[in-house]
């Protein structure tokens, strides 16, 4: 099979001492990032991105994706031991992970969580290996209309995926689009929304938004409860690991189901966070012990951890083949690719085979290395979390500010980071979803250009978006997803008014 050959060649690219070293460094940094709140996956990678400017793109992406895998593994450590999710996709892990630890099963919980992460990731990587070339070939037939339709579908899927009110999803998205418009318009060369300021000429780099919203904003929100890092101790010795592994076999259905859910949501694109919640919810319905979820039920731990890793890995699939990031973290990686001069999309597979298959090969190795690293270093990271918050918090903030500055060597960006931090605090408190905002900032310009190009080609006929079977289907599905939540929201309100429920 052709894919197998390409994969083998990818392994050749990866298996150099330098790249392997970067892999382990990346995983270690990733676990650290996953463990420390305020430095979640997207943020952590955004901060470390400028460091990679001097590296070869293959090496750089290997390190950055390993940081991603590390954070997907590591977020579970604080979730289980401290009941504090290190990243947003670890929130569901706290539901049953922490109770398990409290019952004295911390070692089992951690082993289960890491193994679940590994299984989910492996499933997604195998999926990518065989699906990616297929989708890439398919995507070569994409023109601006198809591209716009799929972007519309991407944004529309946010409406149905999250738990937030659809109106707030729209508002966050529109804000993201508006921010993306600031600066020079590519098509006409006119300056938009700069209001005469030369500072605003550059526009808003979405990396700054990520660091501000996900980093500073997260820290400000978590400060409200104060941070109590009084965690439970965990001993992972080989005996516990083997015993747990022996036990996990009978949960194969949960593993499989969660892997599929995770992969689907990673591709959708929704990302690791919605995947973990959805998987937890569905596992609760299907598990024989569903009603005991929340008290330390192992199925409740397997489900989110398998799904979030599967989603995280799978989110790279649309990114590589279509140039559409499947999660905010994938969006940051996409930004990295563009900075290194690579154009993600179907051409990447034909023009940069070494890069793509090196990356895919590294996903296999990275996840194996991740499992090993994380099983052996839990005591180390638990110890790091015992460093008092008043020392670690300023260090995290300084890291964020350095990250913000190095994006464009601009002090203005550090101020923007602060502003985005405040915005992030307000939005999170009022339950505005942040992911659509970030994705709109990343894809806004691409979507607009695709639209305008399509209109140029069709001389202003909107019907162009239904000009062939593919694009017509995409457009229709997009519109359905877009209006469905609004329609059912109105319908719900209307039927409530007509037949009022008895007062509680």
């Amino acid at each position: 099979m052709e894919e197998f050959n390409s994969l083998m060649q990818g392994f050749v690219v990866v298996l150099t001492p330098y790249n392997i070293m970067l892999m382990f460094i990346g995983i270690f940094l990733g676990v650290l990032v996953g463990v420390l709140p305020g430095l979640g996956g997207a943020n952590g990678i955004a901060i470390l991105l400028p460091i990679t400017f001097t590296m070869e793109p293959v090496s750089a992406i290997i390190m950055l994706t390993c940081i991603y895998w590390g954070s997907l593994f590591g977020g579970a450590i604080t979730a289980i031991l401290f009941n504090i999710p290190g990243c947003s996709w670890s929130v569901a892990t706290t539901f049953d992970g922490y109770p398990m630890a409290k019952k004295g099963q911390a070692g089992e919980a951690l082993t289960t969580s890491f193994t679940a992460s590994f299984v989910g990731a492996l499933f997604a990587v195998v999926l990518i290996t065989f699906l990616a070339p297929v989708i890439a070939r398919f995507a070569l037939r994409f023109g601006p209309a198809e591209f716009f339709a799929i972007l519309l579908l991407t944004f529309a899927s946010f409406m149905s995926m999250g738990k937030e009110s659809p109106i707030k999803v729209i508002m966050a998205m529109m804000l993201g689009f508006a921010l993306a418009c600031v600066g020079m318009d590519v098509v006409t060369g006119q300056l938009r929304l700069t209001f005469g300021s030369s500072e605003l000429l550059r526009g808003f780099a979405f990396l700054i938004a990520v660091i501000g919203l996900f980093g500073i904003g997260e820290i400000l929100v978590s400060m409200e409860e104060g941070l109590r890092f009084q965690g439970l101790t965990a001993k992972i010795n080989p005996r516990v690991v083997w015993k747990t592994w022996g036990m996990l076999g009978k949960h194969w259905a949960n593993f499989l189901r969660s892997s599929v859910i995770g992969s689907a949501l990673g591709i959708a694109p929704a990302g690791a966070t919605p995947a973990s919640f959805m998987s937890y919810g569905i596992a609760k319905k299907f598990s024989p012990n569903g009603d005991k979820f929340g008290t330390g039920e192992i199925d409740g731990l397997i489900a989110p951890e398998t799904a979030n890793n599967a989603a995280g890995c799978a989110s790279l699939l649309p990114m590589l083949t279509l140039g559409i990031p499947g999660s905010p973290t994938a969006a940051v990686l996409l930004g990295g690719l563009m900075i290194w001069g690579l154009q993600p999309g179907p051409l990447l597979f034909t023009e940069q085979k070494e890069f793509v298959w090196g990356l895919i090969a590294s996903m296999y190795l990275g996840n194996i290395a991740g499992l090993i690293v994380v099983l052996t270093t839990v005591p180390l990271f638990a110890a790091i979390l015992r460093v008092p918050f008043s020392i670690i918090a300023p260090i995290i903030i300084i890291a964020c500010s350095v990250g913000a500055f190095t994006v464009a060597n601009s002090l203005g960006d550090v101020w923007y980071m602060l502003a985005f931090g405040v915005l992030g605090y307000l939005l999170k408190k009022l339950k505005y979803p942040v992911a659509p905002l970030v994705l709109a900032m990343v894809l806004g310009n691409a979507a607009e250009n695709a639209f305008r190009q399509s209109m140029l080609m069709s001389q202003g006929e909107l019907g162009f978006f239904w000009s062939n079977g593919l694009v017509g289907t995409l457009s229709t599905v997009a519109l359905v997803l877009l209006f469905w939540p609004l329609a059912s929201w109105f319908y719900g309100k209307a039927s409530n008014k007509l037949s009022p429920t008895p007062a509680n």
Binding site: M171, M174, F177, L193, F405
Partner: protein, 174 residues
């Protein structure tokens, strides 16, 4: 961190959810108005060769303003919203630690602008440890010295990424 001695008013709300909902939605509305104003200037209609530069931002701002208006109305007038909206957006006890991070952070960014990153980072860590951790000078001093040195070596020498410097570095000839 345990609650402060003056916990009597720690649970007192600084501002209600409803007020903040309206305030933030108003913010969205105003941003939308601003964007709409600029997009009309740029030309928001459909020209000969497709939409003008202001077309996209115009409709974005329109949608933003409509949805923000809905949120404001629901928050102000909705019956269910009145109940849940009375809950505090943030209480004094919650806001205090947030501001205890925010103000040093703002000062830090100001410092980065004028004193360079290394000096500001040192001062920031020291100030933070003092205010939030109540550490003595003996514990604070080593960290405030080691941190900038480590960051300097990591970024200037290893990663070769220059960070903002101020007058002190100029004096030291760095």
């Amino acid at each position: 961190m345990q609650s402060e001695p003056f916990s009597a008013d720690a649970d007192k709300a600084v501002v209600s959810m409803r007020t903040m909902e309206i305030a933030v939605a108003l913010g969205f509305f105003l941003i939308g108005a601003l964007v709409m104003w600029d997009s009309v200037r740029l030309g928001h209609t459909w020209g000969d060769d497709g939409p003008g530069a202001g077309y996209f931002p115009f409709y974005i701002s329109l949608i933003m303003m409509i949805t923000a208006g809905v949120v404001m109305l629901v928050a102000a007038l909705g019956s269910k919203a009145k109940q849940s909206g009375a809950a505090p957006f943030v209480t004094r006890g919650q806001l205090r630690p947030v501001l205890a991070v925010f103000f040093p952070l703002a000062l830090y960014v100001l410092g980065v602008q004028y004193l360079g990153l290394y000096v500001s980072a040192a001062l920031f860590v020291g100030l933070f440890m003092r205010i939030n951790g109540k550490y003595g000078l003996k514990k604070i001093l080593p960290i405030t010295i080691v941190l900038p040195v480590v960051v300097y070596l990591m970024f200037e020498k290893w990663f070769l990424v220059p960070l903002p410097k101020g007058p002190i570095e100029a004096l030291l000839g760095l």
